[in-house]
């Protein structure tokens, strides 16, 4: 039991490290790569948590690796090439402040996780801390980056945080909820992809700073 927690915690730690990589990336391909690797790491987790083979868990794992790790990053890279956007990330919040915020957020998430009681079988995992840290990282990217693609990456990291938390419930929640989550995630990103495409045609750029016509 403690052995599986050890491996799981290693993976959660890796995902938390990738959050910081994403915050420090100054080039879009590096940011997308960080999100992609994080997606794959997340996909492996259900397999590590389960001591014996189970169809449902394997399916969730495969779906996650394929979706978060391969398909979505591929769509993002394609959108980036198709729109011929240059590769700079262009932050509103600089990289060093972002990293400091991210580190502070990670510490806060670990502290918060201490305050929330866990079941016996989950005690000692870093899942709650990892979830909190990823959600905060996602927010920093959503707010602190100018380009649409980096905002989508931020949204993905936010979703990854929620997925980490969902792993606590993977045994108890009915199948429907699991399936719905994967489906909605895919559809959501798909729609975002279309929008990104449209924005590009309308503005010839993926810079959300140009989206400033509508304001008081």
């Amino acid at each position: 039991m403690s052995d599986s927690h050890g491996t799981l915690n290693l993976l959660v730690g890796l995902a938390m490290g990738l959050n910081l990589v994403a915050l420090g990336s100054s080039r879009l391909p590096a940011l997308i790569a960080a999100v992609s690797v994080q997606g794959m790491v997340l996909g492996v987790m259900p397999l590590v948590m389960e001591s014996h083979f189970a169809w449902l868990v394997t399916l969730v794992a495969l779906g996650t690796v394929a979706g978060k790790g391969i398909l979505i990053p591929h769509l993002l890279r394609r959108a980036m090439r198709a729109a011929r956007i240059d590769r700079e990330v262009e932050p509103f919040v600089g990289f060093v402040p972002s990293l400091l915020l991210g580190a502070a957020g990670t510490i806060a998430a670990v502290a918060l996780a201490q305050a929330l009681p866990l079941l016996q079988e989950h005690a000692g995992t870093l899942l709650v801390s990892g979830a909190g840290a990823s959600v905060l990282t996602g927010f920093i990217l959503l707010i602190g980056r100018a380009k649409a693609i980096s905002q989508v990456c931020g949204y993905l990291i936010l979703e990854n945080g929620i997925y980490l938390f969902g792993l606590l419930l993977i045994k108890s929640t009915p199948l429907l909820v699991e399936a719905g989550i994967l489906l909605d995630l895919t559809v959501g990103i798909f729609v975002i992809g279309i929008i990104v495409d449209r924005i590009q045609r309308a503005f010839d750029s993926l810079d959300t700073r140009k989206l400033t016509v509508l304001r008081e």
Binding site: A131, L158, I162, S172, P174, D184, I199, E216
Partner: protein
Amino acid sequence: MKAMLLIVVPLAGAVLAMLWPDKRTRPWLLPAVGLVHTVLSIWLLLAPPEVEAGAWLAFDPLARAVLPAVSLLFLLCAAYAVPYLAVRTERPNRVFVALLLTILGLLSAGHQSRHLGLLWIAIEAVTLAAVPLLHFNGTARAFEATWKYLLVGGTGIALSLLGSFCLGYASLHGGGGGDLTFSALTAQGAGLSRPWVLAAWVLLLAGYGTKMGLAPMHTWKPDAYGEASGTVGALLAGGVTTVAFTAILRIRAVISAAGEGAAADRSLLAIGLFSMMVAALFLLGTRDFKRMLAYSSVEHMGILSIGAALGGAGAWAALFHVWGNSLTKGALFMSAGNLRRSAGAHTLDEVRGMSSVMPWSSGIFLTGMFVVTALPPFGPFFSELGVVRAAFGAGRWGVATLFLGCLVFAFFGLTRVVFGVVDGRPRPAARAGARRFPETAALVVPQLLLLACALWLGVSTPEVLREAWSTAVAQLYPTP
């Protein structure tokens, strides 16, 4: 069975709309489905079905108290959409019609969801289905509004999922077997783990509050409502926001059963008052009459939230207000759409004197404005009075004073914009626009019917509705 038809019929209609070959006759699917839906929901209102305790989807008292208003609003929006799409022949309407019907089906599912996960899925799907509707006009401004809607709405939806997980974990930690229906969660009550319940409430209120458009998570609203067509704006303001409100009511009942009802009510009250204040301030400043409607919607969501925080009597008034607000917002958005189309603009700098160019739409817009600012004897007057009385009844004098103060400022803001649009000498462009898009009966009658419904609600609130609201309150607030 009939309850399931409320979901299945619109979704089947959506599939049919995708397959329908003829662009000119396709919009007629909207009123056809809307009529079936309204008949079904009124039938269910009059003869409520038995609800199984563990059912995931059911026409339960809360659905009965709210869903018929959505049906009625949809039917009249659909009646308006047919002539609207006939004047907008340059845009393809296949996706537009199919998605409007999808939204109706998903709203029915959302209102009837008695399961935490299913409720989330329905609201998430509604959010996504509305995206293509927002950029129906295909302009750069519409894209901008859509992007903001998706980013803010998507984040809200993500937070509410995280909140749902927290509530699920609260149940698991308290020894629950993973049954996430609201009845099971409420039955578990004090057995739910307190710290997790509080975390869940914060996240769910932020998440579904974003969908409702409570300040400070309302930022998507002015852009989206400002750029959406009248039909879509009416359905978002009168339909989608109400499903988020019923979600918050259902969750509040669970939190209250867990023993944290006082904390939940305090936060609802604070966020409601804050929304009303923000809305009143922005109403005093805005010069765009479609964005004005968005701020008015923020204000009314604040009223709902305050009502929900004031116990049984307040919640009863809030359910009443859902009806008044939905029906009146429909009339306002569609008449604003008529004015905007002819004037070719939507700010006070470019639009004036519309009453001499489009007398009917201007009259409806003006009347609708008075109705939302609680002119007796229309419905919203009595529901807002109910909220104020609930506040006095609970001894919350400060709340009642702030509430009334915000209403007064909102009234100043709304009258300033509406009279600016209606009064004065029209610009030549508006005259030409009115010749190009004449005010036909079909583009005006739906709004008149909506206002008539709002009047009927106020003058003689049907007994069956009073009873439906009381039953819903009894379900959600077991100790008054």
